[in-house]
Protein backbone atom coordinates (compact mmCIF):
# COMPACT_ATOMS: atom_id res chain seq x y z
CA UNK A 1 0.00 0.00 0.00
CA UNK A 2 2.81 2.40 0.83
CA UNK A 3 4.43 1.41 -2.45
CA UNK A 4 1.30 2.25 -4.44
CA UNK A 5 0.91 5.58 -2.69
CA UNK A 6 4.55 6.40 -3.48
CA UNK A 7 4.06 5.47 -7.13
CA UNK A 8 0.98 7.66 -7.32
CA UNK A 9 2.94 10.43 -5.63
CA UNK A 10 5.61 10.27 -8.34
CA UNK A 11 2.96 10.31 -11.07
CA UNK A 12 1.23 13.18 -9.32
CA UNK A 13 4.39 15.26 -9.22
CA UNK A 14 5.04 14.58 -12.89
CA UNK A 15 1.52 15.35 -14.04
CA UNK A 16 1.43 18.23 -11.57
CA UNK A 17 4.17 19.92 -13.55
CA UNK A 18 1.65 20.29 -16.37
CA UNK A 19 -0.67 22.01 -13.91
CA UNK A 20 2.25 24.14 -12.74
CA UNK A 21 2.91 25.24 -16.33
CA UNK A 22 -0.77 26.11 -16.83
CA UNK A 23 -0.91 28.01 -13.54
CA UNK A 24 2.41 29.67 -14.40
CA UNK A 25 1.02 31.00 -17.68
CA UNK A 26 -2.05 32.48 -16.01
CA UNK A 27 0.07 33.83 -13.15
CA UNK A 28 2.74 35.60 -15.20
CA UNK A 29 0.10 37.45 -17.18
CA UNK A 30 -1.89 38.28 -14.07
CA UNK A 31 1.25 39.36 -12.23
CA UNK A 32 2.40 41.78 -14.90
CA UNK A 33 -0.97 43.13 -16.09
CA UNK A 34 -3.23 42.58 -13.06
CA UNK A 35 -5.76 41.16 -15.50
CA UNK A 36 -7.12 37.67 -16.13
CA UNK A 37 -6.72 36.30 -19.62
CA UNK A 38 -9.65 33.90 -19.84
CA UNK A 39 -8.76 33.14 -23.47
CA UNK A 40 -5.58 31.42 -22.28
CA UNK A 41 -7.22 27.98 -22.21
CA UNK A 42 -8.47 28.48 -25.77
CA UNK A 43 -4.97 29.53 -26.84
CA UNK A 44 -3.60 26.28 -25.41
CA UNK A 45 -6.31 24.18 -27.05
CA UNK A 46 -5.95 25.90 -30.44
CA UNK A 47 -2.17 25.46 -30.29
CA UNK A 48 -2.68 21.71 -29.83
CA UNK A 49 -4.87 21.59 -32.94
CA UNK A 50 -2.55 23.66 -35.11
CA UNK A 51 0.43 21.55 -34.03
CA UNK A 52 -1.23 18.60 -35.81
CA UNK A 53 -1.02 20.36 -39.18
CA UNK A 54 2.63 19.56 -39.95
CA UNK A 55 2.02 15.99 -38.80
CA UNK A 56 -0.84 15.54 -41.27
CA UNK A 57 1.02 17.31 -44.07
CA UNK A 58 4.33 15.50 -43.93
CA UNK A 59 4.58 13.36 -40.81
CA UNK A 60 6.66 15.98 -39.07
CA UNK A 61 8.78 14.99 -36.06
CA UNK A 62 7.42 15.96 -32.67
CA UNK A 63 9.74 18.91 -32.05
CA UNK A 64 8.39 20.51 -35.22
CA UNK A 65 4.85 19.97 -33.92
CA UNK A 66 5.79 21.71 -30.67
CA UNK A 67 7.34 24.62 -32.57
CA UNK A 68 4.28 24.94 -34.81
CA UNK A 69 1.97 24.96 -31.79
CA UNK A 70 4.21 27.52 -30.14
CA UNK A 71 4.13 29.83 -33.15
CA UNK A 72 0.35 29.48 -33.48
CA UNK A 73 -0.09 30.22 -29.78
CA UNK A 74 2.04 33.37 -30.03
CA UNK A 75 -0.05 34.63 -32.96
CA UNK A 76 -3.28 33.95 -31.07
CA UNK A 77 -1.83 35.58 -27.95
CA UNK A 78 -0.94 38.73 -29.89
CA UNK A 79 -4.46 38.77 -31.33
CA UNK A 80 -5.92 38.51 -27.81
CA UNK A 81 -3.67 41.32 -26.60
CA UNK A 82 -4.66 43.50 -29.53
CA UNK A 83 -8.41 42.84 -29.31
CA UNK A 84 -8.95 42.53 -25.57
CA UNK A 85 -6.27 44.62 -23.83
CA UNK A 86 -4.48 47.24 -25.89
CA UNK A 87 -7.25 49.77 -26.36
CA UNK A 88 -8.96 49.32 -23.03
CA UNK A 89 -8.06 52.13 -20.69
CA UNK A 90 -6.76 51.84 -17.17
CA UNK A 91 -9.48 51.58 -14.59
CA UNK A 92 -11.71 49.27 -16.60
CA UNK A 93 -10.61 46.04 -14.94
CA UNK A 94 -13.63 44.01 -15.96
CA UNK A 95 -13.61 44.92 -19.64
CA UNK A 96 -10.62 42.73 -20.60
CA UNK A 97 -12.04 39.90 -18.49
CA UNK A 98 -15.30 39.92 -20.41
CA UNK A 99 -13.53 40.49 -23.73
CA UNK A 100 -11.27 37.49 -23.18
CA UNK A 101 -14.26 35.31 -22.25
CA UNK A 102 -15.69 36.33 -25.61
CA UNK A 103 -12.40 35.38 -27.22
CA UNK A 104 -12.45 32.01 -25.44
CA UNK A 105 -15.86 31.28 -26.93
CA UNK A 106 -14.91 32.57 -30.38
CA UNK A 107 -11.70 30.50 -30.61
CA UNK A 108 -13.44 27.38 -29.33
CA UNK A 109 -16.29 27.79 -31.82
CA UNK A 110 -13.84 28.39 -34.65
CA UNK A 111 -12.03 25.15 -33.84
CA UNK A 112 -15.28 23.19 -33.51
CA UNK A 113 -16.49 24.43 -36.89
CA UNK A 114 -13.17 23.87 -38.60
CA UNK A 115 -12.87 20.27 -37.39
CA UNK A 116 -15.74 18.72 -35.55
CA UNK A 117 -16.45 18.62 -31.87
CA UNK A 118 -15.23 15.03 -31.56
CA UNK A 119 -11.54 15.84 -31.44
CA UNK A 120 -8.56 14.56 -33.38
CA UNK A 121 -6.29 11.74 -32.40
CA UNK A 122 -3.02 13.04 -31.02
CA UNK A 123 -0.18 10.54 -31.16
CA UNK A 124 2.34 10.45 -28.34
CA UNK A 125 5.92 10.63 -29.54
CA UNK A 126 7.02 9.14 -26.25
CA UNK A 127 5.55 5.67 -26.83
CA UNK A 128 3.00 3.72 -24.77
CA UNK A 129 5.40 1.54 -22.82
CA UNK A 130 5.64 2.38 -19.15
CA UNK A 131 9.12 3.21 -17.99
CA UNK A 132 10.74 1.60 -14.99
CA UNK A 133 12.09 4.11 -12.55
CA UNK A 134 13.71 1.92 -9.95
CA UNK A 135 10.80 -0.21 -8.75
CA UNK A 136 8.20 2.27 -9.94
CA UNK A 137 6.35 2.29 -13.24
CA UNK A 138 5.80 5.71 -14.79
CA UNK A 139 4.19 6.91 -17.99
CA UNK A 140 6.77 8.24 -20.45
CA UNK A 141 4.66 11.26 -21.43
CA UNK A 142 4.37 12.20 -17.75
CA UNK A 143 8.12 12.02 -17.39
CA UNK A 144 8.44 14.19 -20.50
CA UNK A 145 6.12 16.83 -19.08
CA UNK A 146 8.19 16.92 -15.88
CA UNK A 147 11.34 17.53 -17.92
CA UNK A 148 9.55 20.19 -19.97
CA UNK A 149 8.30 21.84 -16.78
CA UNK A 150 11.76 22.02 -15.22
CA UNK A 151 13.16 23.36 -18.49
CA UNK A 152 10.44 25.99 -19.01
CA UNK A 153 10.54 27.30 -15.46
CA UNK A 154 14.34 27.47 -15.52
CA UNK A 155 14.17 29.58 -18.67
CA UNK A 156 11.40 31.76 -17.23
CA UNK A 157 13.31 32.44 -14.01
CA UNK A 158 16.48 33.21 -15.94
CA UNK A 159 14.53 35.66 -18.07
CA UNK A 160 12.84 37.33 -15.11
CA UNK A 161 15.86 37.59 -12.82
CA UNK A 162 18.87 37.80 -15.12
CA UNK A 163 17.82 39.98 -18.03
CA UNK A 164 17.00 43.63 -18.54
CA UNK A 165 13.59 42.83 -20.03
CA UNK A 166 12.76 40.45 -17.21
CA UNK A 167 13.61 43.13 -14.69
CA UNK A 168 11.33 45.51 -16.54
CA UNK A 169 8.53 42.94 -16.41
CA UNK A 170 8.96 42.58 -12.65
CA UNK A 171 9.01 46.37 -12.28
CA UNK A 172 5.75 46.69 -14.21
CA UNK A 173 4.27 43.88 -12.12
CA UNK A 174 5.20 45.62 -8.89
CA UNK A 175 4.51 49.24 -9.78
CA UNK A 176 3.64 50.14 -13.36
CA UNK A 177 3.91 53.91 -12.96
CA UNK A 178 7.35 53.54 -11.35
CA UNK A 179 8.49 51.44 -14.29
CA UNK A 180 7.16 54.08 -16.66
CA UNK A 181 9.07 56.99 -15.15
CA UNK A 182 12.22 54.86 -15.42
CA UNK A 183 11.72 54.64 -19.15
CA UNK A 184 9.87 51.34 -19.51
CA UNK A 185 7.16 51.16 -22.14
CA UNK A 186 4.33 49.33 -20.41
CA UNK A 187 2.80 48.63 -23.80
CA UNK A 188 5.94 46.84 -24.94
CA UNK A 189 6.20 44.87 -21.71
CA UNK A 190 2.57 43.81 -22.08
CA UNK A 191 3.19 42.52 -25.58
CA UNK A 192 6.32 40.73 -24.41
CA UNK A 193 4.33 39.15 -21.58
CA UNK A 194 1.77 37.90 -24.07
CA UNK A 195 4.49 36.46 -26.29
CA UNK A 196 6.10 34.70 -23.33
CA UNK A 197 2.92 33.26 -21.83
CA UNK A 198 1.61 32.27 -25.27
CA UNK A 199 4.82 30.44 -26.13
CA UNK A 200 4.28 28.58 -22.88
CA UNK A 201 0.70 27.90 -24.03
CA UNK A 202 2.11 26.20 -27.12
CA UNK A 203 4.18 23.85 -24.97
CA UNK A 204 1.24 23.19 -22.64
CA UNK A 205 -1.08 22.48 -25.59
CA UNK A 206 1.25 19.82 -26.88
CA UNK A 207 1.57 18.03 -23.55
CA UNK A 208 -2.10 18.37 -22.67
CA UNK A 209 -3.10 16.75 -25.97
CA UNK A 210 -0.47 14.02 -25.61
CA UNK A 211 -1.64 13.17 -22.10
CA UNK A 212 -5.30 12.75 -23.13
CA UNK A 213 -4.41 11.22 -26.51
CA UNK A 214 -6.33 13.71 -28.62
CA UNK A 215 -6.74 17.37 -29.46
CA UNK A 216 -10.22 18.19 -28.22
CA UNK A 217 -12.21 21.39 -27.76
CA UNK A 218 -12.79 20.62 -24.08
CA UNK A 219 -9.05 20.97 -23.40
CA UNK A 220 -9.84 24.69 -23.16
CA UNK A 221 -12.27 24.19 -20.28
CA UNK A 222 -9.97 21.64 -18.64
CA UNK A 223 -6.91 23.91 -18.55
CA UNK A 224 -8.94 27.00 -17.60
CA UNK A 225 -10.39 25.16 -14.61
CA UNK A 226 -7.06 23.73 -13.48
CA UNK A 227 -5.22 26.98 -14.17
CA UNK A 228 -7.51 29.08 -12.02
CA UNK A 229 -7.47 26.53 -9.20
CA UNK A 230 -3.66 26.41 -9.26
CA UNK A 231 -3.47 30.20 -9.30
CA UNK A 232 -5.67 30.56 -6.24
CA UNK A 233 -4.08 27.59 -4.50
CA UNK A 234 -0.56 28.97 -4.92
CA UNK A 235 -1.46 32.61 -4.32
CA UNK A 236 -2.59 35.07 -7.00
CA UNK A 237 0.37 36.47 -8.88
CA UNK A 238 3.04 34.32 -7.21
CA UNK A 239 5.07 32.27 -9.67
CA UNK A 240 6.66 30.00 -7.03
CA UNK A 241 3.09 29.67 -5.74
CA UNK A 242 1.90 28.46 -9.13
CA UNK A 243 4.65 25.81 -9.22
CA UNK A 244 3.90 24.58 -5.70
CA UNK A 245 0.15 24.81 -6.33
CA UNK A 246 0.41 22.80 -9.55
CA UNK A 247 2.46 20.05 -7.92
CA UNK A 248 0.17 19.90 -4.88
CA UNK A 249 -2.90 19.65 -7.10
CA UNK A 250 -1.28 16.92 -9.19
CA UNK A 251 -0.29 14.86 -6.14
CA UNK A 252 -3.69 15.25 -4.46
CA UNK A 253 -5.52 14.29 -7.65
CA UNK A 254 -3.47 11.14 -8.13
CA UNK A 255 -3.90 10.11 -4.51
CA UNK A 256 -7.63 10.74 -4.79
CA UNK A 257 -7.85 8.70 -7.98
CA UNK A 258 -6.24 5.83 -6.22
CA UNK A 259 -8.37 6.11 -3.06
CA UNK A 260 -11.69 7.18 -4.53
CA UNK A 261 -11.59 6.27 -8.22
CA UNK A 262 -11.04 8.38 -11.32
CA UNK A 263 -14.52 9.86 -11.43
CA UNK A 264 -13.86 11.96 -8.32
CA UNK A 265 -10.68 13.43 -9.66
CA UNK A 266 -12.12 16.57 -11.22
CA UNK A 267 -14.37 17.31 -8.30
CA UNK A 268 -11.31 17.36 -6.08
CA UNK A 269 -9.77 20.41 -7.78
CA UNK A 270 -12.81 22.50 -7.01
CA UNK A 271 -13.11 21.11 -3.52
CA UNK A 272 -9.53 22.29 -2.92
CA UNK A 273 -10.44 25.67 -4.39
CA UNK A 274 -13.33 25.95 -1.96
CA UNK A 275 -11.23 24.98 1.05
CA UNK A 276 -8.45 27.41 0.11
CA UNK A 277 -10.85 30.28 -0.44
CA UNK A 278 -12.43 29.71 2.95
CA UNK A 279 -9.37 28.97 5.08
CA UNK A 280 -6.42 30.58 3.31
CA UNK A 281 -7.64 33.09 0.74
CA UNK A 282 -4.15 34.35 0.00
CA UNK A 283 -3.07 30.89 -1.15
CA UNK A 284 -0.09 28.79 -0.12
CA UNK A 285 2.63 31.30 -1.07
CA UNK A 286 0.63 34.46 -1.67
CA UNK A 287 1.56 37.85 -0.27
CA UNK A 288 -0.23 38.93 2.91
CA UNK A 289 -2.29 41.68 1.38
CA UNK A 290 -1.93 43.93 -1.61
Amino acid sequence: MFFDAAEQFINGVMYGSLYALIGGGFTILFGVMRRFNMAYGATIMAAAYVSLVPLYLFRAPFWLMVLTGLAAAILIGLLVEFCCFRFIKKGHELAPLVATIGMLIAITEAIVHATDAAGLKYPSPFGDESLELGRFLVRPDYLAVLVAGVLCFTLIFLLLYKTRLGRAMRAVAERPEAAQILGVSVQRVNVLTFVLTSALAGVIGFFAAVSVGSARPDIAAFVTGKGLVVMVLGGLGSLPGAIVGGLVLGVLEFQATWFLGASYRDILAFLILFVILVFRPRGLLGARTT
Binding site: R164, R167, A168, R170, A171, E174, R175, E177, A178, A179, Q180, I181, L182, G183, V184, S185, Q187, R188
Partner: protein
Protein backbone atom coordinates in the same frame (compact mmCIF):
# COMPACT_ATOMS: atom_id res chain seq x y z
CA UNK B 1 15.85 73.84 -21.68
CA UNK B 2 12.28 73.23 -20.50
CA UNK B 3 9.44 75.56 -21.14
CA UNK B 4 5.81 75.02 -20.27
CA UNK B 5 3.43 77.22 -22.20
CA UNK B 6 -0.25 77.66 -21.31
CA UNK B 7 -0.22 74.12 -19.97
CA UNK B 8 -3.59 72.77 -18.99
CA UNK B 9 -4.24 69.39 -17.37
CA UNK B 10 -7.55 67.93 -16.26
CA UNK B 11 -8.42 65.14 -13.85
CA UNK B 12 -11.74 63.85 -15.04
CA UNK B 13 -13.80 67.02 -15.13
CA UNK B 14 -11.61 69.08 -12.80
CA UNK B 15 -9.06 71.47 -14.27
CA UNK B 16 -5.92 70.93 -12.18
CA UNK B 17 -3.62 73.17 -14.20
CA UNK B 18 -5.23 76.26 -15.68
CA UNK B 19 -2.68 77.27 -18.25
CA UNK B 20 0.64 77.62 -16.49
CA UNK B 21 3.93 78.92 -17.88
CA UNK B 22 7.22 77.82 -16.39
CA UNK B 23 10.72 78.19 -17.82
CA UNK B 24 13.84 76.32 -16.80
CA UNK B 25 17.08 77.40 -18.44
CA UNK B 26 20.04 75.10 -19.03
CA UNK B 27 22.10 74.72 -15.87
CA UNK B 28 19.51 76.43 -13.70
CA UNK B 29 17.97 75.22 -10.47
CA UNK B 30 14.36 76.33 -10.31
CA UNK B 31 11.86 75.86 -7.52
CA UNK B 32 8.12 75.40 -7.65
CA UNK B 33 6.45 76.26 -4.37
CA UNK B 34 2.91 76.43 -3.20
CA UNK B 35 0.34 74.83 -0.94
CA UNK B 36 -1.12 71.37 -1.18
CA UNK B 37 -3.39 70.91 -4.16
CA UNK B 38 -1.89 73.81 -6.08
CA UNK B 39 -0.92 71.53 -8.95
CA UNK B 40 2.79 71.09 -8.30
CA UNK B 41 2.79 67.31 -8.59
CA UNK B 42 0.34 67.48 -11.49
CA UNK B 43 2.81 69.70 -13.32
CA UNK B 44 5.64 67.19 -12.97
CA UNK B 45 3.44 64.21 -13.87
CA UNK B 46 2.26 66.06 -16.97
CA UNK B 47 5.84 66.82 -18.03
CA UNK B 48 6.95 63.22 -17.55
CA UNK B 49 3.95 62.01 -19.56
CA UNK B 50 1.95 60.08 -16.95
CA UNK B 51 -0.81 62.68 -17.30
CA UNK B 52 -1.88 63.96 -20.70
CA UNK B 53 -2.18 67.73 -21.05
CA UNK B 54 -5.53 69.02 -22.31
CA UNK B 55 -3.90 72.04 -23.94
CA UNK B 56 -0.61 73.89 -24.17
CA UNK B 57 2.96 73.01 -24.99
CA UNK B 58 5.87 71.37 -23.20
CA UNK B 59 9.07 72.26 -25.02
CA UNK B 60 12.19 70.38 -24.05
CA UNK B 61 15.41 71.02 -25.96
CA UNK B 62 13.40 72.56 -28.83
CA UNK B 63 11.02 69.64 -29.12
CA UNK B 64 7.37 69.62 -28.13
CA UNK B 65 7.06 66.63 -25.83
CA UNK B 66 3.49 67.30 -24.68
CA UNK B 67 1.48 64.09 -24.81
CA UNK B 68 4.45 61.77 -25.41
CA UNK B 69 4.47 58.49 -23.47
CA UNK B 70 6.72 58.52 -20.36
CA UNK B 71 9.30 56.17 -21.86
CA UNK B 72 9.85 58.63 -24.75
CA UNK B 73 10.11 61.59 -22.35
CA UNK B 74 12.63 59.74 -20.20
CA UNK B 75 14.60 58.78 -23.30
CA UNK B 76 14.66 62.46 -24.29
CA UNK B 77 16.58 63.18 -21.07
CA UNK B 78 14.18 64.01 -18.26
CA UNK B 79 14.35 62.22 -14.92
CA UNK B 80 11.73 62.27 -12.16
CA UNK B 81 12.11 61.61 -8.46
CA UNK B 82 8.44 61.30 -7.63
CA UNK B 83 6.58 62.24 -4.50
CA UNK B 84 6.47 59.09 -2.38
CA UNK B 85 9.65 57.81 -4.10
CA UNK B 86 8.07 54.86 -5.92
CA UNK B 87 10.82 52.49 -4.89
CA UNK B 88 10.58 48.96 -6.27
CA UNK B 89 10.36 47.44 -2.82
CA UNK B 90 10.72 43.76 -3.76
CA UNK B 91 13.90 44.38 -5.74
CA UNK B 92 17.37 44.87 -4.33
CA UNK B 93 18.99 48.29 -4.19
CA UNK B 94 21.25 47.22 -7.04
CA UNK B 95 18.29 46.14 -9.17
CA UNK B 96 16.55 49.46 -8.54
CA UNK B 97 19.65 51.24 -9.78
CA UNK B 98 19.82 48.96 -12.82
CA UNK B 99 16.18 49.81 -13.54
CA UNK B 100 17.22 53.45 -13.45
CA UNK B 101 19.69 52.68 -16.23
CA UNK B 102 16.95 51.02 -18.30
CA UNK B 103 16.93 53.58 -21.13
CA UNK B 104 20.69 53.40 -21.56
CA UNK B 105 22.13 51.48 -24.44
CA UNK B 106 25.81 52.13 -23.88
CA UNK B 107 26.78 48.82 -22.34
CA UNK B 108 27.26 47.18 -18.97
CA UNK B 109 30.64 48.75 -18.28
CA UNK B 110 29.27 52.27 -18.58
CA UNK B 111 26.32 51.37 -16.36
CA UNK B 112 28.65 49.86 -13.76
CA UNK B 113 30.69 53.09 -13.76
CA UNK B 114 27.50 55.08 -13.30
CA UNK B 115 26.58 52.89 -10.37
CA UNK B 116 29.95 53.57 -8.77
CA UNK B 117 29.42 57.28 -9.32
CA UNK B 118 25.97 57.41 -7.68
CA UNK B 119 27.24 55.23 -4.82
CA UNK B 120 29.94 57.83 -4.24
CA UNK B 121 27.23 60.45 -3.85
CA UNK B 122 25.26 58.19 -1.48
CA UNK B 123 27.75 55.76 0.10
CA UNK B 124 25.02 54.08 2.14
CA UNK B 125 23.62 52.61 -1.10
CA UNK B 126 26.87 50.76 -1.73
CA UNK B 127 26.65 49.14 1.70
CA UNK B 128 23.03 48.16 1.08
CA UNK B 129 23.49 47.00 -2.51
CA UNK B 130 22.10 43.51 -2.05
CA UNK B 131 19.42 44.50 0.45
CA UNK B 132 15.75 44.58 -0.53
CA UNK B 133 14.86 48.21 -1.23
CA UNK B 134 11.69 47.89 0.83
CA UNK B 135 13.77 47.38 3.97
CA UNK B 136 15.57 50.74 3.66
CA UNK B 137 14.74 53.66 5.93
CA UNK B 138 12.79 56.60 4.53
CA UNK B 139 15.89 58.71 4.03
CA UNK B 140 17.76 55.87 2.35
CA UNK B 141 14.79 55.25 0.05
CA UNK B 142 14.83 58.91 -0.94
CA UNK B 143 18.54 58.66 -1.70
CA UNK B 144 17.85 55.54 -3.74
CA UNK B 145 15.09 57.32 -5.68
CA UNK B 146 17.48 60.15 -6.55
CA UNK B 147 20.34 57.79 -7.37
CA UNK B 148 18.03 55.71 -9.53
CA UNK B 149 16.95 58.73 -11.53
CA UNK B 150 20.61 59.73 -11.95
CA UNK B 151 21.48 56.33 -13.43
CA UNK B 152 19.91 57.44 -16.73
CA UNK B 153 22.09 60.58 -16.76
CA UNK B 154 19.16 62.96 -17.20
CA UNK B 155 19.74 66.43 -18.60
CA UNK B 156 16.87 67.70 -16.48
CA UNK B 157 16.14 66.24 -13.06
CA UNK B 158 12.73 66.93 -11.51
CA UNK B 159 12.32 66.28 -7.80
CA UNK B 160 8.94 66.20 -6.09
CA UNK B 161 9.09 66.95 -2.35
CA UNK B 162 12.40 65.13 -1.86
CA UNK B 163 12.66 66.10 1.80
CA UNK B 164 9.11 65.33 2.85
CA UNK B 165 8.93 63.46 6.14
CA UNK B 166 12.70 63.14 6.59
CA UNK B 167 14.80 63.87 9.65
CA UNK B 168 16.53 67.31 9.67
CA UNK B 169 20.01 65.85 9.16
CA UNK B 170 18.86 63.84 6.15
CA UNK B 171 17.05 66.88 4.75
CA UNK B 172 20.29 68.82 4.89
CA UNK B 173 22.16 65.97 3.22
CA UNK B 174 19.61 65.73 0.39
CA UNK B 175 19.58 69.48 -0.21
CA UNK B 176 23.38 69.50 -0.25
CA UNK B 177 23.38 66.75 -2.89
CA UNK B 178 20.79 68.58 -5.01
CA UNK B 179 22.91 71.69 -4.97
CA UNK B 180 26.02 69.68 -5.76
CA UNK B 181 24.32 67.94 -8.70
CA UNK B 182 23.32 71.31 -10.09
CA UNK B 183 26.84 72.65 -9.74
CA UNK B 184 28.08 69.58 -11.60
CA UNK B 185 25.87 70.56 -14.54
CA UNK B 186 22.45 68.93 -14.07
CA UNK B 187 19.50 71.26 -14.60
CA UNK B 188 17.05 70.91 -11.74
CA UNK B 189 13.36 71.57 -11.22
CA UNK B 190 12.59 71.27 -7.53
CA UNK B 191 9.06 71.05 -6.18
CA UNK B 192 8.90 71.75 -2.46
CA UNK B 193 6.44 72.63 0.21
CA UNK B 194 9.33 73.14 2.56
CA UNK B 195 9.96 76.64 1.21
CA UNK B 196 12.69 77.57 3.65
CA UNK B 197 14.81 74.66 2.43
CA UNK B 198 14.02 75.26 -1.23
CA UNK B 199 14.68 79.00 -1.19
CA UNK B 200 18.15 78.27 0.13
CA UNK B 201 19.19 76.48 -3.06
CA UNK B 202 17.07 77.69 -5.99
CA UNK B 203 18.07 80.52 -8.31
CA UNK B 204 14.52 81.32 -9.34
CA UNK B 205 11.15 80.13 -8.20
CA UNK B 206 7.50 79.98 -9.08
CA UNK B 207 4.59 79.94 -6.68
CA UNK B 208 1.63 77.86 -7.81
CA UNK B 209 -1.80 78.62 -6.47
CA UNK B 210 -4.86 76.50 -7.36
CA UNK B 211 -3.66 75.69 -10.84
CA UNK B 212 -1.98 78.88 -11.93
CA UNK B 213 1.32 80.68 -11.40
CA UNK B 214 0.86 83.53 -8.90
CA UNK B 215 4.49 84.56 -8.64
CA UNK B 216 7.73 84.08 -10.49
CA UNK B 217 11.09 85.56 -9.63
CA UNK B 218 14.16 85.15 -7.47
CA UNK B 219 13.98 84.12 -3.81
CA UNK B 220 14.97 87.68 -2.87
CA UNK B 221 12.06 89.08 -4.88
CA UNK B 222 9.70 86.61 -3.30
CA UNK B 223 10.66 87.88 0.14
CA UNK B 224 9.49 91.36 -0.89
CA UNK B 225 5.91 90.01 -1.06
CA UNK B 226 5.05 89.56 2.59
CA UNK B 227 1.45 88.62 1.87
CA UNK B 228 2.45 85.94 -0.58
CA UNK B 229 5.16 84.50 1.62
CA UNK B 230 2.90 84.51 4.66
CA UNK B 231 -0.04 82.93 2.86
CA UNK B 232 1.72 80.22 0.91
CA UNK B 233 5.15 79.67 2.34
CA UNK B 234 4.33 79.70 6.03
CA UNK B 235 7.55 78.86 7.79
CA UNK B 236 9.67 80.79 5.31
CA UNK B 237 8.60 84.09 6.84
CA UNK B 238 9.54 83.07 10.35
CA UNK B 239 12.80 84.90 9.96
Amino acid sequence: MLSLEALETRYGGVVALKGIAIEVGTGEIVGVLGPNGAGKTTTLLTVIGLLKPAAGHIRFLDRDIAGLAPDRVVAAGIGLVPEGRWILASMSVRENLLMGAYPRRDGEAAIAREMDRVCEIFPVLRERRQQRAGTLSGGEQQMLAIARALMARPKLLMLDEPTWGLAPLVVEEIMRVIKQLNEAGTTILLVEQNARQALGVVQRCYVLEVGHVSFSGTPAELKQHPALTRAYLGAATAR
